[in-house]
Symmetry: C2
Subunit: 92 residues, 2 copies
């Protein structure tokens, strides 16, 4: 799930991603990026909000980026999916 300071959000419960993000910060990261695609984007926003409101109140949203990725689907064709990156940073 983690690669350096990136947490990829999929279909698990919000709390498993909240744990992953808080662990990254507690292990010394100053910045953690939450990445998600498609339906998981809502879970990524939930994760950022729960981390900030209930666990690490000094963490701020530094930036949010959205984009479109083209994926190859099972039939070999291509389909577009929205993706989002939420940059969380430890406040000074």
């Amino acid at each position: 799930m983690s690669e350096d300071n990136v947490v990829y959000v999929g279909n698990k419960e919000v709390m498993s991603y909240v744990l992953a993000v808080t662990t990254q910060f507690n292990e010394g990261s100053d910045e953690v990026v939450i990445k998600a695609r498609g339906r998981a984007i809502s879970t990524a926003v939930d994760t950022a909000e729960v981390v900030r409101n209930r666990f690490l109140e000094d963490v701020e949203v530094e930036d949010i980026k959205i984009s479109t990725e083209t994926l190859e689907n099972k039939e070999g064709g291509e389909s577009n999916v929205s993706s989002m990156e939420i940059y969380l940073k430890r406040g000074n």
Copy 2:
């Protein structure tokens, strides 16, 4: 669905919101705000991306804000829900 230059995203198809946003821009708005809560946040991102990539390529994402709203649920209790605002602006 629209209030000045705001488009509220709910459970409809993405294209109905894409139409609402493009109509706002075509009627002369320079900025349109897409607002959504909870699961509809993913649809809001899809809407912004489809508008920018397939309909109005000069429209840019000016800002994205996330927050938590406390809502009263049917039993009279309170529950938190994530919300998002995507600020789209016509490029110069």
